[in-house]
């Protein structure tokens, strides 16, 4: 298995960061795993962490009162899970569950936020990268609003 | 084969053909317009009439001579005879536990089209290409077309909306006819007749005639030369294909959409427009139904409707579809042009939209750009 710093350096979300910045990020990271069905976070929980998924799949569910909860999205290997650590009020917006055995790298968001405050260059670099994650989610949501499979055109 | 006919010889044409039990369809005056209908005598031709046309306007006026073909074209075209406005394709019966589709027996009289203008000969050739020139052929059209006999008449009196000279389809028919006449009004009123097929030559041989002298041929040539000069070139079709396809979002389409009523007149009057719809009409008993093919128009919203949505919802997009089809995409689809320059779409447009002006407006800004 690759070392933690190699995985982080190769991840697209951290591409282009300096060696020094990467070293700091690696210092905030650790390997974690979740069993199938295990809750990773609940909506409203403090979001002091984000994950880079290395294996398995994570589901984001929204609880709709009096209805079955709706699965909003799934996050698979290679993708980043969580942006609430960076943006106030630092709360998870969805219920997050491992649907199968998940191996991931967890990043200490509180530690990174502190560093971002004192090092605006790193702060800007990370904000830019997580904005892309957010924009990707927003685009996917908008496309889904279009109902691109056309089920409702009649 | 070539000969000179006196005006009285036109009656012989009608006689000979009717004796063969053919229908003779020719221009005739009806409801203050020159329309095509079956005639029993050459006296039913619009003798001494001319048409005065302008965008959105058509009127008949008396001529000061006895010309038989002293007018351009009316609201109808020969499309009515070949691609009929409404035809039963099939009758489908529900019987014996299955569906039994049956075609009507085709027992159609030979029909002579007497007085086909060169632009209309060109239009017939275009519809031939579209309707029977591909891998699938329209059976009813083919039967009618095979039964047709084309007596063309070259043009000496183009109307103001005529632009066949611009489109290269007139005023002189080069081919596509069985027999062609040129009406000569200078000096002795006479016709130069030239056959285009063996059948045309056979008919000509049966007519009272004089041999054609060089002077007659020269006089006939002068008739179409004068018509060509009178028309001039009013639609510049150089690169018009690329011009229109490069300007699909041209603001002129917003402008024309303000005027266009999407009334479908242009497509109905057009001699090349071939779009049809297929509709089902049922007997009340539910035991049988007719499948009917009828003229359709790209100017209607239903034309492009597809499970709940239409591809062309705006009038702007429908006008653009029509214009680019006529002058550009028709060539891509069928390797022929789609417009023959007969001017009917201009005359019969209730608001006088002029295809020549629309193309010129697009070209003007294109030239300004380059």
């Amino acid at each position: 298995m690759k070392t933690l710093d190699a995985v982080i350096a190769e991840s697209p979300v951290f591409a282009g960061l300096t060696q020094e910045q990467l070293e700091f990020i690696v210092g905030c990271a650790q390997n974690v795993h979740f069993d199938a069905g295990q809750t990773i976070a609940k909506a409203g929980d403090n979001a002091d962490v984000f994950y880079l998924i290395r294996m398995g799949e994570v589901a984001l569910d929204l609880d709709v009162p009096n209805k079955k909860s709706v699965r909003i999205d799934t996050v698979e290997a290679g993708q980043v899970l969580g942006w609430s650590w960076l943006i106030p009020p630092h709360e998870w917006k969805y219920d997050v569950t491992a649907t199968e055995l998940v191996r991931a790298i967890a990043f200490d968001g509180e530690c990174l936020r502190g560093k971002c405050d004192s090092d605006p260059v790193l702060g800007y670099a990370l904000l830019t990268r997580f904005s892309q994650v957010l924009v990707g989610r927003l685009q996917a949501t908008r496309f889904r609003l279009l109902d691109i499979y056309g089920t409702d055109t009649h | 084969m070539r000969a000179v006919l006196a005006p009285e010889a036109l009656e012989a044409i009608v006689d000979v053909l009717r004796r063969r039990d053919w229908r003779v369809v020719a221009p005739t005056v009806n409801d203050k317009a020159i329309v095509y209908g079956e005639i029993a005598s050459a006296a039913e031709l619009p003798v001494g009439w001319k048409d005065v046309q302008a965008p959105g306007s058509y009127e008949l006026e008396r001529r000061d001579d006895e010309a038989r073909f002293g007018y351009a074209v009316g609201p109808q075209s020969w499309k009515r005879e070949l691609l009929a406005p409404s035809v039963r394709l099939l009758q489908i019966k529900r019987a014996n536990g299955t569906l039994e589709p049956a075609k009507d027996a085709v027992d159609r009289k030979r029909t002579a089209f007497f007085g086909v203008r060169p632009c209309e000969v060109a239009a017939i050739k275009i519809q031939d290409r579209v309707l029977v020139g591909g891998p699938y052929a329209d059976e009813d059209y083919l039967a009618r077309r095979k039964g047709s006999f084309v007596i063309a008449v070259n043009c000496g009196e183009p109307a103001a909306n005529c632009f066949c000279a611009s489109m290269g389809t007139g005023p002189k028919a080069e081919d596509g006819y069985d027999l062609v006449l040129t009406e000569i009004l200078d000096g002795t009123h006479r016709f130069l007749a030239e056959s285009g097929t063996d059948e045309g030559a056979e008919l000509l041989a049966e007519l009272p005639q004089q041999p054609a002298a060089d002077a007659d041929v020269t006089a006939a040539e002068a008739v179409t030369d004068a018509a060509r000069e009178k028309m001039g070139i009013t639609l510049d079709r150089s690169d018009v294909h690329d011009l229109l396809l490069a300007n699909l979002e041209h603001p002129r389409y917003d402008d024309v959409a303000e005027r266009c009523l999407a009334c479908t007149n242009c497509t109905l009057a057009c001699p090349t427009c071939f779009c049809t719809n297929v509709v089902d009409a049922n007997e009340l008993t539910g035991a049988a139904g007719d499948r009917i093919r009828e003229w359709d128009s790209c100017f209607t919203a239903q034309y492009s409707e597809m499970h709940g949505g239409g591809t062309r919802r705006s009038v702007k997009s429908r006008y653009r579809q029509w214009l680019i089809h006529k002058l550009a995409t028709w060539n891509d689809q069928f390797d022929t042009q789609g417009c023959v320059g007969c001017g009917r779409c201009i005359t019969w447009c209730p608001v006088g939209i002029d295809i020549r002006e629309e193309v010129a407006a697009i070209r003007a800004t294109q030239e300004a750009k380059s």
Partner: protein, 284 residues
């Protein structure tokens, strides 16, 4: 008759429907049914992958419907139909034994044989899967002639995935890289949630030597083609199926024009480079 009329006129029987009986029927989603049809008399027609038929509901009318049969091993016609208009509603309401009219097969075929030796990427949106089924079966029957076979399938909800059991059986029986996603799941849904485009970046295929086949609504095909091109798959290697109003199915009625092309005659299968610029023009 004047001299210019071509003497070699094309087929004349194209407008004559042939009676077929509905021999099996299955409801796929709340508004979609699959019919199996067999001829009342005589031999069945055998469409190529990508071709469509005009289906006639007695007394109501005709609609173009893609062929969804497995013509590698089975001559029954299979049509998956969404009940959205008068004719499709009548067809979906047909019971076993009902006689319908069939004209066809019309249109061109998927260049699936030309993809031999290459990786094949199939992307289906909703009921875009059935029109791809004949091509899929061609690849499965000749599996060793092709490289990797990637099948990506997206739908709005899990209940909008049609032929799902069959799709899963392909995965287990034929070495198919199957990936499925839905726009919105519920907690019973065990698979991915998200747009079908998200399945493309991780898909395993060689963009230098692959052919893609996409069927879904135009906007879905557009997003999918863009994502495939992000993977460096050339537009000419991406095949799509276009849909327009059709009345005749044989190039005579004019309805299915998209600029220079007639969908029933020149399509319905096109490469993305042939149609990308046409469908980019609003209301063309």
């Amino acid at each position: 008759m004047a001299q210019t009329l071509t003497e070699t006129a094309g087929t004349l029987e194209a407008m004559m429907p042939v009676p077929y009986a509905v021999t099996a029927k299955r409801q796929d989603t709340y508004d979609t049914w699959t019919l199996e049809l067999e001829p009342v008399d005589g031999a069945p027609i055998v469409p190529g992958p990508g071709q469509f038929n005009m289906l006639y509901a007695f007394g109501v009318g005709e609609v173009p419907i893609s062929n969804a049969g497995n013509f590698e091993t089975d001559e029954r016609l299979v049509h998956t139909i969404r009940a959205v208009g008068a004719v499709t509603k009548a067809l979906c309401a047909a019971e076993i034994g009902t006689i319908v009219g069939v004209r066809g097969p019309f249109g061109n075929t998927w260049p699936i044989k030309e993809a031999k030796g290459k990786d094949v990427v199939i992307v289906a949106g909703g009921i875009g899967l059935p029109p791809l089924r004949p091509a899929i079966y061609h690849v499965l029957k000749n599996r060793e002639d092709y490289g990797r076979f990637v099948l990506l399938y997206g739908a709005r909800t899990p209940s909008d995935l049609v032929f799902l059991d069959e799709v899963k059986s392909w995965q287990s029986n034929y070495d198919v890289d199957l990936d499925i996603t839905v726009d919105a799941g519920d907690t019973d849904w065990k698979g991915k949630v998200g747009l079908v485009t998200k399945l493309i970046p991780p898909a395993q295929f060689d963009a230098d030597d692959a052919r893609a086949f996409i069927v879904g609504p135009e906007i879905m095909m557009k997003f999918v083609a863009q994502e495939l091109m992000n993977r460096d798959l050339p537009a000419a290697a991406i095949n799509v199926s276009m849909e327009r109003t059709m009345r005749c199915g044989v190039g005579l009625c004019g309805h299915c024009q998209i600029g220079p092309t007639l969908v029933c005659r020149d399509g319905a299968c096109y490469t993305w480079d042939e149609v990308e610029n046409l469908i980019a023009v609003k209301e063309l």
